[in-house]
């Protein structure tokens, strides 16, 4: 039975896919009478099935050696492409995380999407994401990782564009697709170039190859940079980060997934590629630099946002930046641990704020306030999510960040500074969000604000419980770093940076009337710069979008007037010559005679001279 469960683990993505197909009949155009709700229930059932399967498989595979399966896909000439499946505790744990988060998000969505007709589309896309992410976790091939990432890019486009009658949704979905697509295309270049170097796409074989590889450093640097570019777009890293901000136009339950799990798909590929990236010091340096810039930049931007969802989305970018730093300094395990703790805590935070948005309508932080006494469960969930995300012992992320900084302490101390700053900034930003939602006076929008439906509170509290228990779970699985050999100074620094961020945030946003609200920084342009995300939209518009726009206009003009014109010119010349040569037929018979005489003379002249 146990063996059977692990051997059929590849069924887990299929459950979700079957669920996605089964929801289609409840589209409003097909079943017109009974409403869309069964679509959600079918999907919930399939996700529950997938979750249980992966949980039992995890218990079976724990402390067992990993197994490999290979499903042949395509054999052409000398190229054999098969779908390798890696059944190990890490991959199945990732599937448990994906299906678990999806289960909670889907229960949440039953409540949140109460007043919506588009359940079939919504749940089908959620199931597509679940399927894609489980398949990504299972597959052991860079090629199929790329395939799945592209399918998920399309899924993002459709899911962000769920309510396509809103203009901002349409532009947001467009940007999400194109930005991620650019990264994916660069990744494809890297994937193809890597095959000619290594001759394989299997991660395990790539790691073997990388351990003894002897390639031109410039080649491997370029390949590695291309391989980084894909996850860079997926994880919303600078400068491909604007899409995550605009993807906040999508429905909240999908945001739960996106913020916690989907952005981690890029990180997953990156972690798996770490042995290859390690061949190039430049690539590792670039990873660290991208991660550090994003982490600091995004966490400062998060502070200046007035939209709840956007304030959280920039924290996601920042934490993915920390994952980049972890991979760049070759700490795979830390990166995986950070992805896990971040997913749980961020999922909880988004669920909480989604519940607030659901019955306060506004997402504007400046119009919320004073909800603590009426929404204690949401408030507690937000606090726990915050503590789970920042480095606050004994919660999850503390251990991940501690492991990260502990390894950085001796090698690259400046990165420890970056982590501390990011941690303090995130602590400040989350405290600010908490203070603006739950603290202060009630505002017009929050005068009457009951706790949300049980369907939304239940997954929130379940996830709250899991966030609280995460350190215990990690300890029982012996995933926590050993306290005895850790640097206690780093732990103290991390804790103090969190406490500093939280307390400063509390003083400013919960500390009564000493600070006038809304708060203005001393220098207005700086506040605007952060609030408008370093004017990234404008930078895009004046650099790459402008260049592509102008180039395409020039090319269209060339096609229309030069290429088409050259061909049309032939026709025009023929018409014109016909029109003008007809005047030879003058109607004067004497002219015809002259022509005959001239022609004969010339002909005779030619004949005689030759």
């Amino acid at each position: 039975m146990v063996h059977f469960l692990t051997q059929t683990i590849w069924l887990v993505p299929c459950y979700a896919l079957i669920g996605a197909i089964l929801t289609i009949p409840w589209s409003p155009g097909i079943i017109r009478r009974t409403g869309p709700r069964p679509a959600g229930y079918v999907n919930l059932f399939m996700t529950l099935l997938a979750f249980l399967h992966s949980v039992f498989a995890l218990t079976a595979i724990w402390n067992q050696p990993s197994q490999q399966l290979s499903i042949p896909w395509l054999t052409v000439a000398n190229l054999n492409i098969s779908f390798p499946v890696e059944i190990s505790s890490v991959t199945i744990a990732a599937m448990v995380l994906v299906t678990g988060m999806n289960l909670l998000a889907q229960i949440y969505a039953v409540g949140y999407m109460e007043m919506d007709w588009g359940w079939a589309r919504f749940y089908a896309l959620l199931a597509l994401f679940e399927c894609g992410m489980c398949a990504l976790a299972l597959c052991d091939s860079l090629f199929f990782s790329y395939v799945i990432l592209e399918i998920l890019t399309l899924g993002t486009y459709l899911l962000v564009g769920l309510w396509f009658s809103q203009p901002l949704v349409v532009t947001g979905a467009r940007d999400a697709f194109l930005t991620k697509r650019v990264g994916d295309l660069l990744l494809l270049m890297g994937v193809i170039a890597l095959f000619s170097l290594a001759g394989t796409w299997n991660y395990s074989e790539l790691a073997e190859w990388a351990s003894t590889a002897n390639v031109d450093s410039r080649v491997i640097t370029l390949v590695s940079l291309a391989l980084i570019a894909g996850p860079m777009g997926k994880c919303a890293q600078f400068p491909l980060h604007l899409w995550l901000d605009e993807a906040m136009e999508g429905p909240v339950p999908s945001t739960i997934l996106r913020n916690s799990v989907v952005v981690a798909t890029g990180a997953w590929v990156l972690i798996k590629l770490q042995p290859v990236l390690a061949l190039s010091p430049v690539a590792l340096w670039a990873l660290v630099l991208i991660g550090a810039v994003t982490a600091v930049g995004a966490s400062t931007i998060a502070i200046a946002q007035i939209d709840i969802k956007r304030a959280l989305s920039y924290s996601v970018s920042a934490y993915m930046g920390l994952v980049f730093i972890a991979v760049g300094t070759q700490q795979d395990e830390t990166a995986l641990l950070l992805v896990l703790t971040h997913a749980v805590a961020m999922g909880l935070l988004v669920m909480t704020t989604g519940g607030i948005i659901w019955n306060n309508i506004t997402q504007d932080l400046t119009k919320l306030g004073g909800l603590w006494s009426r929404r204690p469960i949401s408030g507690l969930a937000f606090i726990v999510g915050t503590l789970g995300l920042i480095a606050f012992p004994p919660f999850g992320s503390f251990w991940a960040l501690l492991k990260l900084t502990d390894a950085l302490w001796s090698t690259q101390p400046w990165l420890v500074g970056v982590v501390l700053v990011v941690n303090a900034l995130t602590a400040f930003s989350l405290t600010r969000v908490f203070g603006l939602i739950f603290g202060g006076q009630s505002q017009q929008m929050t005068v009457r604000s009951p706790e949300a439906l049980w369907l939304m509170v239940l997954p929130m509290t379940v996830l709250l419980g899991f966030t609280l228990n995460l350190p215990l779970v990690l300890q029982s699985l012996s995933l926590l770093p050993d306290w005895a050999i850790l640097n206690k100074d780093v732990a103290m620094l991390l804790t103090w940076s969190s406490i500093f961020g939280c307390s400063f945030g509390s003083v400013v946003y919960l500390g009564g009337t000493t600070w006038s609200k809304p708060i203005r920084t001393i220098w207005k342009p700086l506040q605007d710069l952060l609030a408008y995300d370093f004017y990234t939209a404008k930078i895009y518009r004046f650099s790459i979008v402008f260049a592509v726009d102008v180039a395409s206009k020039i090319i269209a003009w060339l096609d229309r007037y030069i290429v088409d014109g050259a061909v049309n010119l032939v026709g025009l010349a023929t018409v014109f010559s016909g029109q003008s040569l007809r005047y030879n037929v003058s109607g004067q018979s004497q002219f015809y005679m002259l022509t005959i005489v001239i022609a004969l003379t010339v002909l005779l002249g030619l004949l005689t001279t030759l």
Partner: protein, 101 residues
């Protein structure tokens, strides 16, 4: 006396005929130019039959035929001119340019 001189005179007469044929505005003068051409041809035929074929004188027989045919042609030509004149009331060649492009 040599053949070439006869041929040159005939050619000169032919060229004068061509010039008249192409430049005249009066239809009658065009017909007259055609007669000049035919006479140039006759001159050629006579010269050749004299100098090259003095025994059989086939050229002279040809000339007789050309003269008869020229007479018939001039008659038909004049008839055509008369027919056009009756319709259009003019014999100016530049008025007869109806069949152009």
């Amino acid at each position: 006396m040599q053949l070439q001189y006869f041929l040159l005179v005939a050619a000169a007469l032919f060229c004068i005929g061509i010039f008249g044929l192409v430049t005249s505005r009066n239809v009658i003068r065009v017909l007259m130019s055609i007669e000049l051409l035919l006479n140039a041809v006759n001159l050629n035929l006579m010269a050749f039959s004299n100098f090259l074929d003095a025994q059989a004188i086939k050229g002279q027989v040809f000339t007789v035929f050309v003269i008869t045919v020229a007479a018939a042609e001039a008659a038909v030509g004049l008839a055509i001119v008369l027919a056009i004149y009756r319709n259009r009331d003019t014999v100016d060649m530049e008025q007869f340019n109806l069949l152009k492009w």
